[in-house]
Amino acid sequence: MLINRKEVQQIAVLAKLNVSKDEIDTIVTSLDSVVEMINHINEVDTDNVKPMANPMDAVQRLRADVVTETSNKEVLLSMATNADDDYFLVPTVVE
């Protein structure tokens, strides 16, 4: 196995997903097969190759520092499941 239950559980915690007891073995098996497929990338030597982050051979465009946006408050708050007149609301965050 290239990936085990414990690792899958850790990944799920990071990704904020729940993996139930019933599905864990199926998920481990499927992720393991994906990792096996992925591992083929190690077949070729890439020591002197520069990583390619984006297919565009271009550089970042720069935006002038001007305010172009107006308030979207009503629209944004109306889209949220839980909000009052001013804020998005979430279960209490403990700092």
């Binding site: 465009r61 935006r63 308030s71 609301l89």
Partner: protein, 483 residues
């Protein structure tokens, strides 16, 4: 261990300073950054992490970051810098990642000279300054069951300035922080308002026995929002760590919050989960590529910093060291002073400094005004000083004239003329007044004649009273002596 209580501890501190940049719009969208807006009114679709929205980089941020790099003599101002995503879930970070610069930051390897606790110069290395987004704010005291989220601050540009662990005491840390504060405020890239969170500091604190090479386990103190608290928080944390180690315990690497009310630090619960931020290059943004000319162009915006100013003020302008220091450290005041001095002819900069720190500052206080409000322009101020230097008015009258200029367009000359405040230097006129006073105070005059020098001052006072302060004191003196 037998020598537990005799161990000498050494403190190692590194600071991460989050400096909000004074741009009009946010880092990646044209959203207003002004402080204090109604909640959630300064949130674009991008900052709300609406699906399909994309970031576009604000050039001002790049330029400001370069200026900071130049000001701290950075060895690297990257010709190619890139943005990375730092992934973590938190309600005030809607995308669930922060765009930052991990691998190729814009600024690396700068330095700042501070004074150590013995008063010697000490160079603090700045590891890097990178561009990143600020988060929104969570408000915890509005509801009992909920935290309220305001995204106005979300996406505001920051540069995070990371020092090497070169600081050895809380006091040094504060000096370093003040030094960085002076730089960013004098550059005009940050308003420096600690209260509003424009300038925030995290401190990495560890201790080790003196002589030990490797660093001790550090704790990170989060978001300390005043110079005073930085010192207190670090000192209390050092105490805590020493106590812990001396009682045989170990320091846990963790993030701690400073509680100013209780003057203690405690672990942050939200940071307990060991985080794996899964940094990777942001595929929505391309490399930021600039050339040397672009960097050089920013040099014109690097102002004279306080240390250089103090030298110029004391050596060239002959200011008293204390006055020079006070003026140099206040950006607005020093700009005002420099502007006024430029207009001076006969008048001495030293007088300008006295006046600025004295009468002018008093006037500002009384009116609850700021230098930059320009209630008296540097030109108006310079003219006033010239009138004083020319003997047209006395120092005392100068204060009166200054009050009358306040908030108007009038020149000193106009006020002096209109209000008849010019010094009376006309010998004939003064002689008449003096003779009149002598006539009305014969006994006092006899006493003066008899050598009672207190009476000399009495007569000067009387002349001043009669002329409402306009008499030229030197001339009055001469006249009295001649009589």
């Amino acid at each position: 261990m037998s020598n537990q209580n005799t161990t000498q501890w050494e403190t190692v501190i590194g600071l991460e300073i989050h400096t909000q940049l004074k741009t009009k719009s946010k880092l990646f969208a044209g959203t207003n950054t002004a402080y204090g807006g109604e909640p959630n009114t300064q949130v674009s679709l991008l900052e709300a992490a609406m699906p399909g929205t994309l970031p576009v980089f604000n050039e001002k941020v790049l330029r400001y970051a370069i200026r900071f790099g130049l000001a701290v003599g950075a060895k690297v101002i990257a010709k190619e810098s890139t943005f990375d995503r730092k992934n973590y879930f938190y309600p005030d970070s809607p995308k669930a990642y922060q765009i930052t610069q991990l691998n190729h930051p814009i600024v690396e390897h700068g330095e700042l000279v501070i004074q150590d606790d013995k008063g010697n110069d000490k160079t603090i290395r700045i590891n890097r300054a990178h561009i990143e987004e600020d988060a929104g704010k969570s408000i915890h005291d509005k509801y009992t069951q909920y935290s309220a989220i305001d995204l106005n601050r979300c996406g505001t540009p920051l540069i995070e300035i990371v020092s090497e662990p070169d600081l050895s005491s809380a006091k040094e840390a504060v000096r370093y922080m003040r030094g960085i504060h002076t730089i960013v405020t004098h550059l005009g890239i940050c308003d420096g308002n600690l209260q509003e969170g424009s300038f925030r500091c995290d401190a990495n604190v560890s201790i080790r026995p003196v002589g030990q090479k490797e660093l001790g386990t550090r704790t990170e103190l989060k978001n300390i929002n005043s110079f005073r608290f930085v010192e207190k928080a670090i000192n209390i944390e050092i105490k805590r760590q020493i106590k812990l180690l001396e009682s045989g315990g170990t320091v846990t690497q963790e993030t701690r919050l400073y509680d100013a009310d209780k003057n203690e630090t405690r672990p942050m619960r939200s940071k307990e989960e060991a985080n794996d931020y899964r940094y990777f290059p942001d595929p929505d943004l391309l490399p930021v590529v600039i050339d040397q000319a672009y960097i050089d162009n920013e040099k014109q915006f690097i102002p004279e910093f306080p240390a250089q100013k103090i030298i110029r003020y004391t050596q060239d302008l002959k200011l008293k060291p204390d006055d020079a220091t006070t003026i140099a450290h206040d950006k607005e005041l020093s700009e005002y002073f420099d502007a006024a001095v430029k207009q001076l002819g006969k008048a001495k900069p030293k007088v300008a400094a006295n006046m600025i720190l004295g009468e002018f500052s008093a006037l500002l206080n009384a009116n609850d005004a700021k230098v930059e409000d320009n209630n008296i322009s540097p030109e108006q101020f310079a003219e006033l000083l010239e009138a004083l230097a020319a003997g047209t008015i006395s120092h005392k009258i100068a204060k009166v004239v200054m009050e009358k200029i306040w908030g108007t367009d009038s020149t000193a000359a106009q006020i002096i003329d209109k209000e008849g405040l010019a010094q009376v230097s006309d010998t004939g006129e003064l002689e008449t007044i003096v003779k009149e006073i002598i006539k009305n105070n014969p006994s006092q005059f006899e006493a003066y004649k008899g050598g009672d020098m207190k009476m000399f001052n009495y007569f000067v006072g009387q002349v001043m009273k009669q002329t409402r302060g306009r008499a030229n004191p030197a001339q009055v003196k001469t006249l009295l002596e001649e009589l």
